[in-house]
């Protein structure tokens, strides 16, 4: 038994740990699925493999080789550490050895990964040199791999352009450094046979849509030089690898999904910190619990990798671990992208050799950099996507030894949802990588770049974009005096370098820079796009970044910056927005249980009226301030659902309100009488005068929104209503609350299905919405102008989304709503759990009891 096995036994027996382990899954060991080397494999490559102890290939590697040799495009979507790199290196090296002129382009999402892969290729080159020295025709045997990115020194660049046969780069360099200067790469493109796109699942959302267009430009340039390269992609496990690969490359792509690599016994634990405050549903911090579990692991000598979501959490976790373990666990290190490359190499090496026993890392260590495998991984909170969870967890495991992964859930609704529904983490991923390369803003930028690269011919296509649409965009560029039509071609004429003005990670060049005064200088800590700036970084807003809290001192929209100061406060701010949504064009609609669902183009106008300060966890309102800022407009795609009048009626009939009069404070009876007297015993809505029974007295702002009965029962907040009007008024509140809770939970859960951040989606609830034909409506929309495909996907999976939302809320342990289910806010700052649950029940086709 290994020390890990010992510890796992101990945990099982230790009550204080065991009761918080929500799930314990064990995946049995799996042998390798091996096949002999393919026939077409160059003997030198075979020799090198055998020297490394490899005498057969995993089946998926063999499949990749065969498909590649057969001229097909393919995507390797097998798990972490399954040998995908060999899967694409073998056929490509094979090709280069057989053809002295052939070249290949490898695209990686990060510089670190690029350099890691370069080392691997250089080893191949060294082995080839050794085996084939003394051979006469050495020409084809030089593969000359080289990295070409922003760090490549100027004096090395022209040599690389002339000589490199495998070029390693990243999308940004391809976009600004290579494609706009393609004539310097004429030979390289002329002989381009393969393009490798590694970690394809990263290319989703806005970034993916940009990269898809960069690929279109790449293909266009390659075609100019007569090449039609094959595409080989690798991906983490997502729901739609084939679809995403096809959208990125606009080519038919074969999917290799069966993993033939061996695996030892794997434990996967989901640990849910216990609730410490039942009213609010607050749990013990996931950081504290993760540190506790990691300390155990490290003290047992288990090599452990801890993943944190932010840099600040990384530093905190490292600090606490060092304090708790002292020196007994050996050296512990942090790891994140801010560290120098030399430091990171040392830590990676230390992990491989085993001298480094513990590392706390951000997701910088998630991507394929080779660290061997550790014995255990601990995930502080759900990493944000299932793919990332599997990649991080997948770092645990060395060949045939047993390994363990523990995900410690945080209070986020998604985390709690996954605690209830762990199958999403283990079975088929529901996550789809979505892109929209034809988003007009993104497309326009890239057509501009493409026009700079090569003149467009009249009637030319662009990727799969038909000539008529290309022509419409070219007309816009002409109107902007950027291109000029001469003969049958459009020439670039502006004295500008378009690629420089296009960021691959946003849709507009317009951002607001966030600046903090540090050491006497202004440092930019991040940026926010213009439309979001007013409500995210208005004056006196509390802004969180990388786990740190700041207060905004000034927002200057005209000059595109905001000044922030770091603060330590116990509250956060919430902007009070008035969101007005206009329908521009309805695209689809359908009747669903309890209402209808719609998809279409909308214009979202957001006006800030003020903001509130809310204390953490208790949501106590500490204060409110007015704001006056110009409204911002967002034209995008949205998905909305309306609640039918029948459903509203059913809601009304339910006795949800716990309106026991004793709960309204000791003086309630007196106050009631005073109010009825003031209102002359007349219903203020329908005018009915009291007959046999006293009318009701209704709180305009619900009682539970206040922190004390005195505040709630102020005369101005009270109004006399007859019973039926009272019921109606309550129902309005009910509906508002339910809508608000519905909006919250759907917004929080949606990212699980469309692989985005919560902030990539906007949500609004309107009790009488023109979009929903006058009915109460919840709208969810893409925060990206012109949409990026998220809303559309949500429209399609509406039923599943509603079902999962119902499950989440009904299983939540809180009393009346909490941030882990319907949000602690509600309409008036009060919980809305029963109302939301009722709505969800109806929407998912259930009956109300």
């Amino acid at each position: 038994m290994t020390s890990l096995d010992h510890l796992l036994e101990v945990w099982q027996k230790d009550g204080s740990v065991r009761k918080n382990i929500a799930h314990w899954f064990t995946d049995s060991a799996r042998p390798a699925d091996l096949v002999p080397f393919p026939d077409g494999l160059h003997e030198a490559l075979g020799t090198i493999l055998r020297e490394q102890g490899i005498v057969r290939l995993y089946r998926h590697q063999w499949q990749a080789f065969e498909l590649a040799v057969d001229g097909k495009n393919l995507v390797l979507a097998t798990g972490t550490a399954s040998g995908k790199t060999l899967g694409y290196n073998l056929p490509i090296l094979n090709c280069l050895l057989g053809d002295p002129l052939a070249t290949a382009l490898y695209i990686f999402p990060t510089k670190a990964l690029t350099h890691d892969q370069l080392t691997g290729l250089q080893r191949w080159q060294a082995s080839l040199d050794r085996i084939l020295s003394g051979r006469v025709d050495r020409g084809s045997l030089d593969i000359r791999p080289a990295v070409y990115d922003g760090d490549t020194p100027t004096n090395a660049r022209s040599t690389i352009r002339r000589n490199a046969r495998i070029l390693l780069t990243n999308p940004d360099m391809l976009h600004t450094g290579i494609l706009p200067h393609h004539t310097s790469w004429a030979q390289f493109f002329h002989n381009l046979r393969y393009v490798v796109i590694d970690e394809m699942h990263i290319y989703r959302g806005v970034f993916g849509s940009h990269v898809a267009n960069v690929i279109r430009r790449l293909k266009r340039v390659a075609q100019f030089y007569g090449s039609y390269p094959q595409f080989v992609l690798t991906s983490a496990t997502i729901a739609n690898p084939g679809e995403l690969a096809q959208r990125l490359t606009e080519e038919p792509v074969e999917v290799i999904g069966e993993d033939g690599s061996p695996r030892g016994l794997r434990h996967f634990l989901i640990y849910n910190p216990p609730v410490v405050q039942p009213q609010t549903g607050v749990r013990r911090s996931s950081l504290a619990e993760s540190v506790r579990l990691s300390t155990d692991l490290l003290e047992y000598g288990v090599q452990t990798l801890i993943f944190a979501r932010s840099r600040r959490t990384t530093e905190l976790a490292l600090k606490y671990l060092r304090e708790k373990t002292g020196n007994s666990a050996g050296p512990l290190h942090g790891y994140r992208s801010g560290y120098l490359p030399g430091e990171r190499r040392k830590i990676e090496q230390g992990l491989r050799t085993g001298t480094v026993r513990g590392v706390v890392a951000t997701n910088a260590l998630e991507l394929g950099i080779d660290i061997g495998g550790v014995d255990a991984t601990v995930l502080i909170g759900y990493p944000g996507t299932i793919a990332a969870t599997r990649q991080q967890a997948g770092r645990a495991g060395r060949k045939q030894q047993s390994a363990a992964s523990i995900m410690v859930a945080s209070a986020n609704p998604l985390d709690q949802f996954l605690v209830q529904h762990p199958r999403y983490l283990l079975e088929r991923s529901p996550e789809k990588g979505l892109i929209n390369p034809d988003n007009p803003l993104i497309l326009l930028s890239h057509l501009r770049c493409a026009a700079f690269e090569l003149p467009f011919r009249v009637n030319e296509k662009f990727g799969s974009l038909p000539p008529e649409l290309v022509a419409a965009y070219l007309e816009v560029l002409e109107e902007n005096q950027e291109i000029y039509q001469s003969g049958d071609r459009y020439f670039w004429m502006a004295d500008k370098y378009p690629a420089e003005q296009v960021s691959l990670r946003s849709t507009s060049a317009e951002t607001v820079l966030l600046q903090v005064a540090q050491d006497g200088r202004e440092t930019t800590i991040g940026q926010v796009d213009m439309p979001s700036a007013p409500w995210m970084v208005h004056k006196n807003a509390i802004y969180m970044h990388e786990g740190r809290t700041y207060r905004v001192d000034e927002l200057d929209l005209e000059n595109h910056f905001a000044r922030l100061t770091p603060v330590e406060v116990d509250y956060y701010t919430e902007a009070l927005k008035e969101t007005d949504i206009q329908k521009i064009e309805l695209q689809r609609e359908e009747t669903v249980p309890a209402g209808k669902k719609y998809l279409g183009e909308i214009m979202v106008t957001t006006r800030l009226t003020g903001f509130r300060r809310l204390r953490w966890y208790t949501q106590e309102v500490l204060g409110m301030e007015d704001l006056s800022l110009p409204p911002s407009h967002l034209r995008t795609v949205g998905y909305w659902l309306s609640i039918s009048p029948e459903a509203i009626e059913q809601l009304e009939k339910l006795d949800l309100w716990n309106s026991d009069e004793n709960d309204y404070g000791p003086d309630w009876n007196v106050i009631r009488t005073v109010v009825r007297q003031r209102d002359r015993f007349t219903c203020q809505m329908c005018g009915a005068v009291e007959k046999d029974r006293a009318h009701h007295v209704h709180h305009k702002i619900p009682f539970r929104a206040f922190s004390s009965p005195e505040l709630a029962n102020q005369i101005d907040n009270l109004i006399t209503l007859c019973p039926s009007c009272h019921r109606q008024a309550e129902n309005v509140v009910r509906v508002r609350s339910g809508l608000s809770g519905l909006k919250y939970v759907m917004n929080q859960l949606a990212p699980l299905f469309v692989m985005c951040d919560v902030s990539d989606l906007g949500a609004a609830a309107e009790p009488q919405s023109p979009l929903g034909e006058g009915q109460p409506t919840v709208v969810i929309y893409d925060q990206v102008p012109a949409g990026i495909g998220l809303s559309e996907s949500l429209y399609n999976i509406h039923e599943e989304l509603v079902e999962q939302a119902y499950q989440l809320v009904s299983n939540c342990e809180c009393l009346d709503g909490c941030p882990s289910c319907v949000g602690a806010g509600g309409e008036y700052g009060a919980g809305s759990k029963p109302e939301t649950l009722a709505l969800l029940a109806l929407m998912s086709g259930r009956k109300l009891e």
Binding site: P180, H181, H182, T183, S184, A186, P440, L441, L444, A451, F452, E453, L454, P455, A472, Y473, E475, V476, E479, N480, Q481, Y484, S486, G487, D488, R489, F491, W492, M493, A494, D495, K496, Y497, P498, S508, E510, M603, H633, R635, P785, A786
Partner: protein, 423 residues
């Protein structure tokens, strides 16, 4: 589409047809074609025709203060430019080249719409300017360019290594031609200008050199470089070639200045003493260049000439040290020592140090060596060396001093406590 793409993009926040863009003239009126504005002829190629404007300047033409020469000795200049193959050739084997383009950023989206070529032939200095009347006929222009370049062995440019030649290479590739420039030697005078005038002139831009070195003043017809790319676009949309006259003039003057500058620089490097009223700073720049080429004697001569004319203090001291270093390289101590002493008078730490080394290792005069070491230590604070340099030097001098004291004690002599009066 009910809504135009343009409107949709505008509602997404895109600026189209911004206010600051000049108003577009109506499409293709009969306007003022280039033929009426700048006289020239159509050149026939296999790929179509291109427009060429030509002019000739006689031998001995004065451009500013420089007389343009068909013959000049460019031996040293070619040595500096690392193009020895051209050294013995005739000036008529070189072509002077400058382009006007649609943008200054480079990349495949930039076109050269005017390519100026100048060369010496029997008639004098001949200037050919190829003009791109219509972007779609670029292939013809490139073909004409290749044709025109074929007889030459070398090309001379100003900043051509980073701009013009890569651009023209790119245009060749885009049009499907093989670029001819790899077969031509290339001299980029900007590189030389930087060597020669880095210290004396505020700018090494061609326009600045024109005024300062060539003494040439352009007429009001000239258009500043940054305005040029936009003028071509205006021409294309309006077909009014009149504003382009200034661009042709600008390009022609660029080429003339380039050729005149070439003559001047060739002479400066070949026979610096024949330049009337040479600037001392120029002389030492040339001397430095001579050092790189291994012409030590000539270098020393020039340094001495510059010194005799007078130099600002820093350059003076620097020049003294360079002369001394040359002598040191050739082991001519009796020539080096007096110069070091002179430099030491200016408080130069390095000079004192050299003298200390010389006294210690070659003359074995430890007392003298110690005196020079102490002098060096005294001069250190005012020396202008940075913190790290000073720190290292302090350590080094202290070591040296201690070593010398030991050596003196072993010889039985007392180290002096006062500094002798320096000779």
């Amino acid at each position: 589409m009910a809504e135009s793409l343009s409107d949709k993009l505008k509602s997404l926040g895109v600026q189209i047809g911004a206010k600051q863009l000049p108003e577009r003239k109506p499409a293709r009126p009969k306007g003022f074609p280039i033929q009426e504005v700048v006289p020239g002829r159509l050149v026939e190629t296999r790929y179509g025709t291109t427009y060429a404007c030509e002019a000739s300047y006689p031998q001995g033409y004065r451009h500013g203060v420089v007389t343009m020469q068909a013959k000049c000795s460019m031996h040293t200049l070619c040595q500096w430019g690392q193009v020895p193959a051209l050294a013995e050739r005739d000036l008529s084997n070189l072509v002077f080249l400058d382009t006007e383009t649609t943008g200054l950023a480079g990349g495949t989206g930039t076109l050269a719409f005017l390519i100026g070529l100048g060369y010496w032939n029997a008639d004098g200095f001949h200037l050919v300017q190829l003009f791109l009347e219509e972007p779609s006929s670029e292939a013809a222009m490139i073909a004409a360019l290749t044709e025109t370049l074929s007889p030459f062995a070398g090309v001379v440019t100003f900043n051509g290594k980073t701009f013009d030649i890569p651009l023209l290479n790119s245009r060749h590739v885009i049009n499907g031609f093989t670029p001819p420039f790899s077969a031509l030697e290339h001299i980029d005078l900007l590189q030389l200008a930087r060597r020669l005038w880095r210290n004396r002139l505020p700018s090494r831009a061609l326009s600045s050199l024109e005024g300062e070195i060539l003494g040439f003043q352009r007429t009001g017809e000239d258009i500043p470089g940054w305005m040029i790319p936009d003028l071509y676009y205006q021409y294309l949309t309006s077909r009014d070639a009149r504003p382009l006259a200034g661009v042709f003039y600008h390009n022609a003057m660029d080429i003339l200045s380039l050729a005149a500058l070439f003559n001047h620089c060739a002479q400066m490097l070949e026979q610096p003493r024949t330049i009337p009223d040479p600037e001392s700073l120029d002389l030492i720049a040339i001397a430095r260049l001579y050092e790189d080429l291994g012409s030590w004697d000539q270098a020393v001569e020039l340094y001495e000439l510059a010194l005799s004319q007078g130099l600002p203090r820093d350059f003076l001291v620097q020049s003294l040290m360079r002369i001394a270093t040359i002598h040191k390289k050739h082991m001519q101590w009796d020539l080096a020592v007096p110069i070091w002493k002179k430099a030491a008078e200016y408080g130069l730490v390095e000079a004192c140090l050299e003298l200390a080394k010389h006294c210690e290792h070659r003359r074995r005069d430890y007392r003298e060596a110690l005196r020079w070491t102490q002098r060096a230590e005294e001069c250190l604070p005012g020396s202008g060396l940075g913190i790290w340099g000073q720190r290292e030097m302090v350590k080094d001098l202290a070591r040296r001093r201690n070593r010398l004291v030991c050596k003196l004690e072993r010889c039985g002599a007392e180290p002096d406590s006062e500094l002798d009066v320096l000779e």
